[in-house]
Symmetry: D2
Subunit: 363 residues, 4 copies
């Protein structure tokens, strides 16, 4: 039997009539509604991310955060957060397709009340003289550059017992969890949890390098370590810089890990710290994961999807999925330090992770 594609030509009118007849059955003709997918001449399709590259400057954000603290209390705003909203979206609270970034401020004497949710969150501290997040009863320190985790379904409240404002970058997988319609949230019965554990407990137990309490670790899917101090992180990068070149695309880059299994800190979010040598210019690549970068210290720019994003200390910028990016450290004398978080564990778990080099602005 000769097998081939068939060529049956109904009139446009017949087809239209057919399609209309399907509507009351909650059925539609697949071939008729494939409009939004554009295919190249060779028939290939690839992702066209809706999110756009964007940088948010600390010089803009800081005054607004302080102004917000004057205008609303933590009574009205359960979380006093300025959302870094991707310019391409008016309908969804997202920074990239799957990730959310915001600037949260807690003033002296204030508490952001205790709750928990299935959205996994991280906090990267920008300004603080102390203060803490209470995670399941453990006060986790928050000093500038520290990474603090509040994983899926962990109770958490944020408290500022210092005399200065605390400001940090919030990172969440909320856009992903909302897309998956898997968002649960609960309020803690009281405003604050009691402090039932020692300050820095998880750091003492699980942050001691390649040593951990013997025996079975806690049966959770996220890192049991809630606190990654910046001093250690920068030190690790600086020491590594003396012996390693790093990757052409990322420079020197280290991943924050779950000490129990060596994997990403949470099942939906991976965190990274990166060091660009003075004058370094990285090569361009892209991947199906998206990333939000925060400049811990440095002065440079990134070319993201053809846009040049200038950055300095404490700026935040996003690299949407499948978007080319490369970084430049403009200083000829100082390294630049970037913190970033990404949805790479999601893409990897679902076997959807791809990465490729792309021609960049330079060799």
């Amino acid at each position: 039997m000769t097998l081939t594609r068939s060529d049956i030509k109904a009139s446009a009118e017949e087809l239209e009539q057919f399609q209309q007849g399907l509507q009351h059955l909650s059925v539609s003709a697949l071939w008729a509604n494939q409009g939004p997918v554009s295919r190249s001449p060779g028939g290939s399709i690839e992702p066209r991310p809706r999110a756009v590259p964007h940088v948010w400057h600390w010089l803009d954000l800081r005054p607004q955060a302080l102004r917000a603290a004057e205008l609303v209390g933590t009574q009205q705003a359960e979380r006093r957060v300025l959302q870094l909203k991707n310019p391409a979206f008016s309908d969804r609270s997202v920074t990239t397709n799957t990730l959310f970034a915001g600037i949260q401020i807690v003033m002296p004497g204030e508490v952001a009340r205790a709750h928990r949710h299935t959205m996994a969150a991280l906090r990267f501290i920008i300004e603080s003289e102390g203060g803490y997040t209470n995670v399941d009863g453990e006060p986790v320190p928050m000093l500038p550059g520290d990474l603090v985790l509040t994983p899926n379904w962990a109770w958490h409240d944020h408290a500022n017992d210092t005399g200065a404002p605390m400001i940090w970058l919030d990172g969440l997988d909320a856009p992903l969890v909302r897309m998956l319609e898997a968002a649960f949230q609960e309020d803690f019965p009281q405003e604050r949890q009691a402090l039932s554990a020692a300050r820095g407990l998880s750091q003492i137990r699980y942050g001691a390098g390649a040593l951990r309490p013997a025996g079975e670790p806690p049966a959770v899917r996220h890192s049991p370590l809630m606190h990654y101090a910046w001093a250690d992180t920068q030190d690790a990068l600086d020491r590594l810089a003396e012996v390693d070149e790093g990757s052409p695309y990322d420079g020197l880059i280290m991943e924050y890990t779950n000490p129990v299994d060596g994997g990403s800190v949470m099942p939906t979010i991976a965190c990274f710290a990166q060091r660009l040598r003075p004058g370094e210019r990285t090569a361009a690549h892209r991947h199906t994961s998206s990333t939000i970068y925060h400049v811990v210290h440095g002065n440079g720019y990134s070319i993201v999807g053809g846009h040049s994003l200038n950055w300095q200390d404490k700026d935040t910028f996003c690299v949407p999925n499948w978007t080319s990016h490369q970084h430049v450290n403009l200083s000829e004398t100082e390294p630049a330090y970037l913190f970033s978080f990404s949805d790479i564990p999601v893409l990897r778990a679902l076997d959807l992770l791809r990465e490729e080099p792309v021609p960049g602005e330079w060799g």
Copy 2:
């Protein structure tokens, strides 16, 4: 220091002004746009799925599939598929939030051309006297009740070398992959792939019960077995029914597995075959995963989110995520057989899987 939630009352006007001032910075006040999330009095939030329960009856679908075959060729329609479109969505081609189901028809002598994509697909055969899907060169048989996999990035074309129409249920994770903006697709250089492997090859290698070729299995994340024959499946259920009661929520239910690791058949889709005893009425539960059911054989109804969905042979119905469901086999003499596929591996991988019993229509 007394720590408490602060209560600062700016005027509505001030707040409005503040929020407007943020817009040009691509920033917005999180507390101002949390409208769509409704919280219960106790402050808790849970998913409110947008998809609604729905059943598509074979008596409606079959004539439309045959009519489609008269109207369009596989030249015009790369895939001649009637999409089972969830009534709640006009903007997305989805059956549940993450899954797609459709009815595909290939007529005698026809080929649906070779392509591949990152969307993982399965085919559950409804009508066929033979025919095959060519997966990476291997002709995989398609007889009624068979499950055929065409995983992420496997080349596949469908060919009907028999004298009768072939009709099957398509199941894909396309809504999920599109949400994640990770859809890649390519056309094969020719209309059809050469048949380079033996018919039933993967079944011979990996379908022989708890035996498989010694040595390293193929380094893929999905099942290397592409074909699960219905005769074996029904036999397995019938034999299990003689010794097991099954679950109160699902009756007797077996999962199709990846023989290499015992896990789900693909990283994003799990498949199940289920047997309801004559007269069986299952208890109600719900979970964050969504499911699409196809009635292989039987006569009954399911109560899904309060809606009664009547079903008979070859009907298809959907149970959205976090929606209560329970099943009834109306026959007092015959078992009912349901095939289903779900996104449970996605929820599990991301630590977002929850399940709970709910009060149902009966005890």
Copy 3:
């Protein structure tokens, strides 16, 4: 500083004196007692297995088994087993360094009493018209060619409710478990366990190809499937032979698997079924694992460590670790079928598995 190996020459007498002085401290000079390890000129050491290749012929074993049944009852002999004792060992009950093989016989009306032990065992049935092993209450059928598991710490008794003797090959990891001094054993309070589960239960639940009961599998480290029927095994090999060439060293070889994780049937023993084409002569290799072969059907020989071992139906032979081996099917018309079990999972788990081709008797 120049670093080099030092050359200090004490007199033989001084050294002897030193070594004697150490004895009362339970200390000895390592360099003085490395006698038994012989090193090649280039300084390399490799394993020199103590076990030797050997074949046990069924024609010899069967009469002795029947005679044993006349001489001792299962009262005296908790297990009436003829041990296939490697000729190189007089001090240990071993067939290879880590594995034990024996011929066990249970006569009509007899029971071999219920016990359990940490030694993992398998039974490969040679003669039987029925009968069963009761594993944790489940009667597991024992027909010729069947593989039956009685894993670490499973209660088991063997019962012959037929009119003919049952004879099978026992395979255990007892030499390994004894070397590790980890042997525990307990008698069941009664002579026999009650039959509390359906005949063939585990086969019904876990033997249905790539389908298994949905939900969490039993939390054990071994296969939950206790019975692998020979009819299925030979069928799988014969079908595979139509499409695959097999390996140059093993011919067509399939591994019996744990359906829950796709791994070996038990953590210490892997089982294999093998088919040699008429006239097939395999190439030589060796590996750090050892293997015991049983000829299900066939007529041939194997060259093992330079020794030619002739075999026919129901013979058993051993291939010690790191010993070259290759097989010949002498029949020009019939395939030969070999069952085998090995300690390969042990070597793999401990990162001690090595394999290499070696020059054999032919090309």
Copy 4:
């Protein structure tokens, strides 16, 4: 059919004759040679370890090590090691059944030549003013209290470029690897490897707490971190002591981990650091794994299998498998610090790990 154990009584003579007749077949009657296993009245068997508890005192060992250095050079002794030989064994070089401990000394200017073997080794440094082990080209520092790994098949030579002797505790799985007849060894072509990597490289890459170079880790089964510095270890224990009570059996105990997967440092050996509070007396337990302890600092005793073993700084003692043990810190003011290594990963991998509390000398 009545099934029961049969009672056939052959004469002792007949049995003897039968057994003799089996010998030329390399067969023996299992029931006749089960002598060495003694069973309790209830029929149960449990391990009776051959190794005995023993302590080796530093005050004895140190002079002998220095004397050895006078008598033999590293030309004659490839490794100048005093083996801590379990008193129960005259035929095997073992400290416990599966583990070896020794005292190795390398004098100023000396090198212990480069080789590699499948036996996995660790070094716990007792005396040193510097010096290093060159592991695959990386000089790994060796200061008192440091743990250094030289895993299975890693090239290694030891060099003393300081003015003082270096003495350390060697720990190996050699008894296990020899039992498994899987020992391979090779000499490096030269006396020493070139120093091709930076001093402390693995520590820089993989020792930075819960941070590691992003991307795929090295594809090895052991820790890529070769060096665990004592200063960090003691600090981790002291900090943990402020927040945790520890286990009743072990006091505060931490495991050295493989940072890539969170598991034991090597597939056959796990390492631990332990802190006993002033005056602490632990409860008694036993397990199927065996352990070798080294006293980093402290003054106390352990009751092991009924024997009291007194220990002070730098003493070494062994706890055989399945032998009760409990520890006492005799100081009322100072904590005691113990390093230990064990074969627990072996027992766990093979599903042979058991642990139980036992009645001890006190409450």
